[in-house]
Structure formats: C-alpha cells, structure tokens
Assembly symmetry: C2
Homo-oligomer: 319 residues x 2
Amino acid sequence: MKQVNVLGIDGGGTKTEAVLMDENYQILGSGKSGPSNYQSVGIEVAKNSIQTAISQAVTNSNSHQPISGICLGLAGVGRPEDFPVVENLLQEIITNIPIKRALQPNTIIICSDSNIALVGGIGYSIGIVAMAGTGSQVFGQNSQGLTKRVGGWGYLLGDEGSGYNIAIKGLQAALKSYDGRESPTTLITDFQRHLGLTNIEGIVEVVYRRGWGATEIAALAPIVSVAADKGDKVAKKIIQGAVKELSIATKIVISTLFQPHESFEVVTIGSVWNSMIDFRGRFEDSILAIAPTARVIWPRHQPVYGAGILALKAVKVKS
Amino acid sequence: MKQVNVLGIDGGGTKTEAVLMDENYQILGSGKSGPSNYQSVGIEVAKNSIQTAISQAVTNSNSHQPISGICLGLAGVGRPEDFPVVENLLQEIITNIPIKRALQPNTIIICSDSNIALVGGIGYSIGIVAMAGTGSQVFGQNSQGLTKRVGGWGYLLGDEGSGYNIAIKGLQAALKSYDGRESPTTLITDFQRHLGLTNIEGIVEVVYRRGWGATEIAALAPIVSVAADKGDKVAKKIIQGAVKELSIATKIVISTLFQPHESFEVVTIGSVWNSMIDFRGRFEDSILAIAPTARVIWPRHQPVYGAGILALKAVKVKS
C-alpha cells in the first residue's frame, strides 16, 4: 500500500482527541481540545473543538501527505437523524482547515463512541466493549458485521452499573437509612465526611442547588466501593448489583452475536473498572461462567486510535 | 376573641396561593400567582409571586382590619439556614404592600409545605400527611409536638412512590425490555404511542434534549398505571412497589409518633392518589393492617387554608 494519512477523532462530552495516522497504524501527530458532544454543547462549540484537535494533530505531525480518510466517533451519535448533522459539521471543518485532502467517497466515517472504543480497545472490529464510566453501555460486533448494544440510555433512563448509578444508589440508601427505611450503613457518615457536611440532610443543597450533574455525582462512586470493601452490607449490595447489571448486559450481547464455542474478547473501558475494589474480577468470573471461550481484557489502545484504524480500513477497502 | 385577620400563604414550585382569613376560619379573600420556590426561581421572582398573591387576597377581601398574623409554607424550606432568608423576604414584602399591620412577635410563621399540607388536610396539627405528586414525602406530628419526616429528598435522591418515580421506573423497564434485559412489556408501545415516537429509542431525545424536568417525566406515570390495570406484569410490579414504598414511609412515621392504640388520621395529598388505579385502596389496607386505629382520609382543605389556620393559632396564643 502506498503512503497514506488518515485522521481519527474521538469526540466526547468533556474532551475531543484527534490523531493523524499513517498506513502502518503509526501515530504521526495528535491533538486535544474541549467537548464536542454537539447535543449538549451546541454545533458551534463542537465544530471549534473538532477543528482545533484536527489542526493540532496535523501541525504536530510534520507530514505533508494528503488526508485520505477520516473517522469521527462521537458520543451520543446513534440515531439516523444524527448522521447528516455530523456529516455537514465535518465537511465544514475540513473545508475550513488548510490541509491537503484526497478523500474518496465512503472514506469519511461517522460512528458512535462505543464503536471506536471497541476497535481501539481490541485492535479490530470484532468483540465486545463493556463501558462503565459516568455512564454505561455494552456494545459488540461479530464477524458477520452484526452489532448489538445494551444500555447507554443515560443517567436518568438507565446506565445500570455505571459510576453514576453506583453513587446515586449509595446516596439513596444513605438517606433511606437516615429515614429509618434501610439498615444502618456507614455511607451516611462516609458521604458527610467526604462532602464536609455537618448533617446528611445537606446533601440536598449539594446535589440540587449547586447544579451538580451526572459527572459530579458519579465521582462519589468510590466511596460506596470503599465502604463495601470495609464490610458495609448496604454498600456491598450496591456494588454486587452493579457487577450483576454489567454482567447481564454483556451476556445479552454475547448470546446475540457469538456462537457457544466461538472465541472473542471483551474489553473493559471506563473508570469504574479500575476504581472499584473487587469489581472487575467478579465481572470476569460471571462472564467466563457462561462463555468460557471469552477473554476479558484491558484496552490495547485508546478509542481515538480505534477511530484511526477505522479510517485506514475504509481507505484500504477503496484502494 | 375580637375581630382578627391573618394571611396564609402556600408557596410552591409552580404557583403561590394566599388567603386572608378571619378569626372564624372564614376566607375573606384569596390570591394566586407564579412560583415562589426561591431555591429554583431565585429571590426576586419568589418575592414578586408572594407579594402579588398577598395583594390579591387583601384587595379581594374588602376587609380593612389590620393583619395580625402570617404563615408562609414554602416548598423546600426545612433547614435552619432557610429560615432567616425567608424571614427577610417576608419582612420586605409586608413593608412593600400598603396594608395595615398589627404584628406581634412570633406571629410570623415560616414552615415547610408539608406542615401546611398536614394542617390543611386534617384541619389541625396532629396526624400524618402522605404527599405523592411529582415528588413524595410523609410528614407527621403528634400531640406532644414531635414531628417526623420520611422521604422528600427530591427526584434524584429519593421520592420513592412519587409520580416521577413511577414514570422513570416505567421508562427504565421499557428500555431494559427493549434491550432484552427485562420481560416483554406493553410499556414500550404505550410510551411510544403516547409520545408519538416511531421507535422507543427516541425517548432519549425527548428526555435529555428537550430539557424535560421531573414534572414532565412524572406526567407519564398514568401510562404505567393503565398498563398495570390491563394486566402488564412489569407495570404491575412498579405500581405495587410504589404503594409499598409509601406504606413503609408512612409506617415509620406512625411508629415514631403514635402509640399502638392511639387514634389519628393519615391524609393523602397529591395527584398520584387519584390518578393511579387500584392504588390508594392498597395503601389504606397496608396501613390499617399495622395501625387499625388510623383513618386514611382525603384532604379536608387546601394547604393554603392550613397556613391560615397556623397563622390564626399563633395570634390566638398571643391574645
């Protein structure tokens, strides 16, 4: 294959990353900027973030090859209505930036964040990604190209097993216990101490009046994990429930996409997997119990690298 | 008792009501205006709403008696820090309005919305109010003046058994079922049809991107109730769970405040009690099973009337 340069972009709710990659999957340059989840930050902010990240990646590379392919993985993109919006956005951006382009049709790929996370995490498109950070979802693809997603409905409608879910269940349990509706739990004093409150009732002020969002609440998940590790039964039940939810979601993706004796990998991505004590091991046990041919792995590469791989794949199909 | 006029005010998240009441608990005039939950709408809006409602009540009354007492029940007021804020607010308002005043110390009462709901609903201060509208809480007071509150932590942290809780559990169950993680349920098509969606995935757009709040989500609760009534097992479980949560909360208030053979009333207030099918009857059965001396009643008066009663009581103690 002749010399080829492609762009991989990972657009998220808090940051946007871009890499310029060559035909040997080598990163020539990378860039980083602000959020580009256009549904929450708006089209203009998203455009600026993506443009900045791309410009940085190209400038840092010292490469003068034209860009032959682009893959943009964007959080929240999934419905058919999203694609034309994002495609227009991307077209405008690449027209704005003074870069050489040799883009054939079908070498601009727009997909969801779970798609590039799967490809980056495993190194290719087949397998399962179990994402559990602030939110959660499990996404997979098999060798026939069939995909299945479970979860990812956001903090109000789902995200079972996520950091947000663990934290909010911890807070709810602490308040129920304070009311006398739940067994005693150290979570009451744990949250109080962590948040510098004189009384757990102050949590109302913190959550509603300081304008806390899902991210801030999710950051309290490790408190539940530590309490569970110290033997608090209420906290233990929450942590075990989260492992169970992620296992159930993963098992549905497995049974939808893979045959009983097929080998495949499940990559775990997100802060929950390494910040919760005695969590990932239980998940792994639960998965291997029903799918002994599965391998639970840590991510091999970042999602932005997965976007680069997908862009390169599109160009190779063309060439 | 000589001729006395007092003001009762019910300040909520969507509206503010005021009544001018005489010494015989007769309403001489009433007023209604916008929201006055100062934590969400801000001090200025709250001040305007309360001022407008009071002015209307006084103007409509044709009474020229001075105001001898005021009771303001405000949603979300409960913590010690709230009282000086609201007291200042109320002082400013009554100075602004050209009304005759004969206010003795301790004849200005500031309390929570549950307090005036209890007094309005039952007619006096002793008993229990089980509130279940968009949110939920159970509050009670006994003859010794001891109070107990369970719940009322808001839509994210609690509000079990509320309209919001029933609706969000219905949506979560529908999406879990769609994912293959929950038994089949008619809730998927029920929500789709109600919201005019071609696919249940469109619920993400509705809930997150249209800026829906707890009130809009809570308005979907009757869909879960209707599905349960038609025999949908998933919906039934949610409705039964809500009844159970409200029963548990009420039982804790009962056991904290009342002796086993003491007679008292439990007043049910809020849209959930009359919009859910086969709901209040189950709640009543559950309460009577553990407290046969309790009587579950519908509210005798509005909360704003309860505020009037409390204002009058304060004046009578003084006179």
